[in-house]
Each structure stands twice: as C-alpha cells, then as structure tokens.
Amino acid sequence: MNDRENAVSNLDLETPEKPYLDSNELIINMGPQHPATHGVLRVILKLDGEKVLGTECVIGYLHRGVEKIAENRTYTMFNPYVDRMDYVAAVSNGLGYCQAVEKLLNVEAPPRANYIRVILTELNRIASHQLWLGTHALDIGAMTPLFYTFRDREEILKIFEKYCGARLTTHAFRIGGCQYETYAGFEKDVKNFLTFVAPKIGEYEELLTTNRIWLERTKNVGVISGPDAIALGVTGPVLRASGVKWDIRKAQPYANYSQFDFEIPTGKNGDTYDRYLVRMEEMRQSLRIIEQAVNGIPEGPIMAKVPKVIKPAVGEIYHSIEAPKGELGYFIVSDGSTQPYRVRVRPPSFVNLQALDVMVRGMLVADVVAVIGTLDIVLGEVDR
C-alpha cells in the first residue's frame, strides 16, 4: 500500500533521486497552452534529462461550477448544462443525468425511448472514440488518421443534427424519455452509417495496428496493472485494458442494454497499445449494439408520464452509466423542491487523469504525451 500511496502523492521537489553523475533536474511546464494536453491541462513535469521523475497536474482552468449552477436551476433547466461537460460525448452525459432524475422520480422511460437512447448513445460512443483515436495518433506523430476519423465522425454528427438540430451539445434526451420522435429515414441513415463505418474502422487499424513505430510507441508505455487501476478508481477502456472485465452496461445494465448481445473487450498488459485495441474493439461492439437496436426498435410512446413540474420526493440517488470515458455518475440530493439540493457529478476523466502520475513515472517526455492521449480526457469534464 505504501508505495502506491507514494506514487500518487505529489511532487517532492526537495529530495531528488540522486543520479551518479551530477546532472540538473529540469522542471517543465507542459501546458496550459500546449498542443498535446487536449485543452487547458497543465502538467508540471520534473525531468532528469528526458526521463520523468514525477508529474503534477494543475487543473481547473475550465472550471465553471457546474455543480453550483445545478443548485440554482430546476431539474429540467439543468439538463442542457451536462452536455457541456464531456462535450465530445454529450449524449452520454444527457442520458446519465436524465436516468438519474428518472430514478429519483421512480419513473421508467418507455421502451421505444430506450431504444432511441441506446442508438444515439452508442453512436456517440463511436464518435468519441473516433475523436480520441485521431488526436491520440496525432500526439504520437501520425497525422493522417485524424483526418480519416473526423471525416467519418461527421456522418454521426449529421445524424444527430437531423435528429435534434444540434451536432455537438445535443441535449437529445429529456427527463422521462425523448423529446423528439425519430425523423423519417432515421433508421435508414443509421443502417447506412453502419455499413459505411465498419470498413473505415479497418482502415484506421490498417494504418496503425501493425505499424512498427506505433507498436514501439505504445507497447509497454503507461502500464497500469489491474489492481492499481482499481485502487486509483480508473474506469472505462483504461480499466478494461488492464484486464478487468467490467462494464456498467453488463454489470448493472441501464436503459435496455440487457437486451443486447455484445462483448466486453479486455486487454492483458494495461499498456497504451491494449487501450488502443480495446477502444477499437469497443467501436465494433457499439456497431453491433446499434444494429440490434435499430432492427428491434419498437413502436410506442417516447415519453413516460412525468409531471410538468418535476418535484422529486426528498431523498438522494446515485446513478452511473458507462460513458465513453468510463463511469459517469450523478449523485443527486432532492429536498422535495423543484431544484436539486445538490448534484454531484462523478467525472470519469477527472478520476482517470489522477492515474497519469503513476503511469508516466520513469518514462520519457514523449510518453507523457502518449499517456495523456490514451487516457482520453476531456478538460471540460475534468474541470466541470
């Protein structure tokens, strides 16, 4: 336990590891303006040459006080705000929030709404992973996949736009179900997308999976073992790549995920390459889920009976979903009024980012970039 605690404790600038030859230690500020920190993350690196002796993350540059805002809005009014946290997976955020409030109200979204939710959320997962892949590859120096992934992500955004009018911060769901019925041709669009994107994923893999340089840059880089990952609270693909077969969609199914047949991909080594493979496979599994959902989508209402003014009973609830980045949880305390008494967001990026220090110690500067990329953080969610 002790060494683990040591690993996450902060930079000890006083007692440097004494090298044999006296060489200077360099303190470098990576960020907040840096091409590879995916936003306004600032990482203070303590270097011995290029070797990382320790890191400290300075976050909060994008803090907007989402949790405080929630306390001053009604349940309905707060819904669009959650889109702005993990803005590349806005649909997932919305799903988590809506379901948490539904749970608090003790209502259940109708089946058709659940199908629509699953389709859109899984599309969003693919979009998020595509964006991750492009930027991650760019960080490692392969600039071409970025353009391929953005080209294909565009098709998903087009479906979102047709469905609800927004491409990025969609605000697609409402408490109790969905606001919008699917547009005419929705199913055809989704099916077209499925046939369109499946070979494209192969295309990305062709560029990277067996590329020698890619292998060298990602294998055994940023290794985190399963127990360490659990202790650090890491979730999502990062946890699964460390060999822990855990996905909330399977472990504690929400919406109607229990009806679909899909696999949870896992890795063995917990290195950057395994995380890459896990995410690539997750995209394929998402396609499977979407295919089943779009073929089995039932007719029926899309809104449950929810009062016009949402006033949950006094109580508190925790609900979490498997967002593209990991476990996204909402802890909501109601005092019986129209405004939540307290909303706590359990952001996957924030918790995963904490593992950065453990993962990069003893590695090189170039690996820090690779590991930040592989953690797939979104600063909007880290800072909220």
Partner: protein, 170 residues
C-alpha cells in the same frame, strides 16, 4: 588549379585562428567560447586546404567542427549559466599557465631557428592532385599501421572508461 592570393588567405586564416583562440579563453560565457573554438577549427581546416591536404581538412571539419564541438555544446548547455558567470574566470594558477605557454613559445622559436635551413630551399612538392586521400590511406594502413592500431585501441579504452563512469551498473 593555381592558388589565388595565397599570402592574403594565409594571414586571414591564421588571424582568424588566433583571434578565435583568444576569444575562447577570454569569454565568460562558455557557449561563446565554444563558438569561438569552432571558428578556430574552421580556420585551421582552411589552412590544411592551403597545404594541399584536402582530406585532412575535410576530416577536421567533420570530426572537430561537426562532431566534437557539438558534444562540447551539448555538455555546456546543460551547465547552469548563471553559476559560471558568477564564478571567477581565472584561478590562481594563471602564472603557471603563462609560464608554460611562454616556454612552449620559446620551444617553437628554438625549433624554428634551428631547423630554418631544413625548410629553406625545399618548398614541399605539391602532391599529385587527385590521390591525396589514397596516399593517406596507404600511409595509415601501410607505414603507420601499428601506430594507427594503437590509437584505435586507446580510443576503445577511452570509450569503455566513459561507459563505465557514466553507468551506475552494467
């Protein structure tokens, strides 16, 4: 190819070499010293060229100016500049150094005086132009084979020593 303005180039290059050398010892900033040393080395390479020794000139540029000086700079850049600027530039040993260099100068002058008649009437016959490199090769691997191999062995020992010093354990 007949040489053009030989004295002018000779004095220019020598002057550059000497000026560079002086700058090396007088600059406070180690990087500036190193840059001056590069000027000196390049000037010496020019002198070699004037002596019809293009191979030596080329090697001088590759090895000294291109390789060794980069390593020098490499090391110097890692040294904290603020500290070196505060340090005293010359320590108390400078009279000894002065005496030594005066003695060296005297030695050079003595040799020059003694051997004047050796060089007097016999300007070096210009090497036949295109096989300077080949001649050096034949010399190194023929007449001076043993010395050459000894030198390479010495360098090998130096490499091993450096590796052992730099590595905590092998």
């Amino acid at each position: 190819m007949t040489p053009v303005a030989t004295p002018f180039f000779f004095y220019m290059l020598s002057g550059l070499a000497v000026a560079g050398g002086l700058l090396v010892v007088t600059r406070r900033n180690a990087v500036h010293s190193a840059l001056s040393l590069i000027v000196t080395l390049l000037a010496v390479a020019g002198l070699y060229l004037m002596l019809y020794a293009p191979f030596v000139a080329g090697v001088q540029i590759i090895v000294y100016a291109g390789g060794i000086m980069v390593l020098f700079l490499f090391v110097i850049m890692l040294v904290s500049l603020e500290r070196t600027i505060k340090e005293r530039q010359f320590n108390r040993m400078w009279p000894v150094g002065l005496a030594a260099s005066c003695a060296l100068l005297a030695l050079f002058l003595a040799v020059f005086e003694k051997g004047k008649k050796l060089f007097e009437d016999r300007p070096l016959p210009p090497l036949t132009e295109n096989n300077n490199t080949q001649q050096i090769g034949l010399m190194l691997y023929g007449n001076y084979m043993f010395a050459f191999e000894i030198a390479s062995l010495l360098l090998l020992v130096a490499i091993l020593g450096a590796v052992i010093m730099a590595k905590k354990r092998i």
